[in-house]
């Protein structure tokens, strides 16, 4: 069974139909790149998966279990959304780190709040829980090569470092599927490289990822599957080889020529 199954997803903003029925599946451990020109609906699709937008129609299931279904209002309650969104993690184009917290606290904050909520006697075991979360955060920071920056504040880091911290922060909650919304669009080429390097590392480690990107080299070399979106539909999808070497759709052909 596919890990993620998206069926007939539609979304409109006012009169503008941004998603006109999106269908795709992905397996665990796969990396899916979504490409397409601005306004094609890629970011909206990602935001629907992460419950930042509510799709108007269609369904999303993870591991065969529906996490969103436009026909089932019980899945749209704030409580259900809070529960179901933990399947997904999201890394933003503009990082969105919390400026008032150190790098380490950026990673652990959400996890600590979650532990506090779930453990009735959190205050008793507080030190133990925070110590284990700190340890896990440090492992992640070491993995992205920023262990020595744990006490720094976001404004003291370069854009690339901030984005790597944002990736670690998303991983902290062990999402089934990690989504990236144009993670390198705010970065210069040098910093782009270090962020893409981290994403490739995550692929090697077996993470399932969806990456909305303008980096064609990344989409070609690092993904298992590529989706090309245009005007709110999946115009063409397939392996990177097929998409980049023998594109069928004229829209994709002209997009790749740019």
């Amino acid at each position: 069974m596919a890990l993620l199954e998206v069926k007939d997803l539609t979304k409109s903003f006012g009169d503008t139909r941004v998603l006109k029925g999106i269908n795709f599946e992905m397996e665990s451990g796969e990396v899916l790149s979504i490409i397409g020109s601005s306004g094609s609906g890629k970011t909206t699709l990602l935001r629907c998966l992460n419950f930042l937008e509510t799709a108007d129609g269609g369904s999303i299931s993870v591991d065969g279990k529906a996490v969103f279904d436009a026909a089932d209002p019980s899945l749209s309650s704030p409580k259900a959304i809070r529960h179901n969104r933990t399947s997904f993690g999201l890394v933003f184009q503009s990082f969105n780190l919390f400026p008032q917290y150190s790098v380490l606290k950026n990673l652990t904050l959400a996890a600590i709040l979650k532990a506090k909520e779930e453990n009735p006697d959190f205050s008793k075991s507080r030190n133990k829980i925070t110590a284990s979360l700190d340890k896990r955060a440090m492992e992640l920071l070491d993995r992205i090569g920023l262990g020595d920056k744990k006490d720094n504040y976001p404004c003291e880091l370069s854009g690339g470092q901030q984005q790597r911290v944002a990736i670690a922060r998303a991983l902290m909650l062990t999402p089934r599927i990690l989504c990236f919304d144009e993670p390198t669009s705010a970065l210069d080429p040098e910093l782009t490289k270090e962020v893409l390097h981290v994403i490739k590392d995550l692929k090697t480690a077996g993470n399932t990822m969806i990456v909305v990107t303008h980096e064609m080299d990344f989409a070609r070399n690092a993904s298992d599957k590529v989706i090309f979106m245009a005007n709110g539909i999946i115009e063409e999808s397939g392996t990177p080889g097929k998409i980049f070497e023998s594109p069928e759709s004229p829209l994709l052909q002209s997009f790749l020529k740019q």
Binding site: F51, S94, F98, A110, A170, L173
Partner: protein, 227 residues
């Protein structure tokens, strides 16, 4: 005849009233401003509109005029004790102070409300979204992430407004509140000595300096880490 010491004593006692007006205004106007800010952001349109219209009116008219209306209008309309009281008490009645305080609180609450609203609305949407995708509840997001950023956003404009309040308290003299300026002008009126009036400037300056210093410390503490 007045000398420097006796004038200082008289002005200092007037300045006590100035400070009382200053601190009481802050004490009530800050929470009220928060409430106003929340109301001017509610989804229910008529209420939001009314609140914003009220804020617009208060910010668009002179505080001096508001003082007059608060202190004298109830007397004219309801034959209210504010003016009656004066007949029995030759000294300036406390009710004038309360009337002035009321006008100051409403006026400053409206200014604070706009500052608070600006501070809240200036938080990038991405901060809320980051909290959301990390599974935080709305209240967790607000108290753990957003609030401190709001406070940081409002420190500078609040500093401005609070320093203005220090000086605005002088307006209370127009409704018979014997604050420092009133005390000095009484010396001028009765004894034809003008320098005490100029001397009040030193009190205002010293207190403004204190307030500015305090806000400077807060601002520095808050911006130690970011931006």
């Amino acid at each position: 005849m007045e000398n420097f010491i006796s004038v200082t004593g008289k002005l200092a006692s007037g300045f006590g009233t100035t400070l009382a007006l200053f601190f009481l205004t802050l004490l009530f106007a800050i929470p009220l401003g928060l409430i106003f800010a929340c109301i001017s952001r509610v989804r229910f349109k008529p209420l939001r509109f009314l609140m914003r219209a009220f804020i617009y009116i208060i910010r668009g008219t002179p505080l001096l005029l508001q003082l007059m209306i608060v202190v004298y209008l109830p007397g004219i309309v309801f034959n209210n004790p504010l003016t009656k009281w004066e007949i029995f008490h030759q000294n300036v009645p406390l009710s004038y102070f309360c009337g002035a305080l009321f006008a100051f609180v409403i006026n400053y609450a409206c200014y604070f409300a706009e500052i608070f609203r600006g501070g809240i609305e200036n938080i990038p949407k991405g901060q809320y979204e980051a909290c959301e995708v990390l599974g935080m509840s709305r209240s967790q997001a607000f108290f753990k992430v957003i609030l401190l950023q709001v406070i940081r956003n409002i420190v500078a404009p609040m500093s401005n407004e609070v320093v203005t309040l220090v000086k605005d308290t002088a307006l209370a003299r127009t409704v018979s509140v014997v604050e420092i300026y009133f005390a000095a002008s009484e010396i001028l009126r009765l004894q034809f000595i003008i320098w005490p009036l100029f001397y009040t400037g030193a009190f205002y300056l010293a207190f403004s300096a204190l307030v500015t210093l305090l806000f400077g410390i807060i601002e520095k503490r808050l911006s130690r880490y970011w931006r």
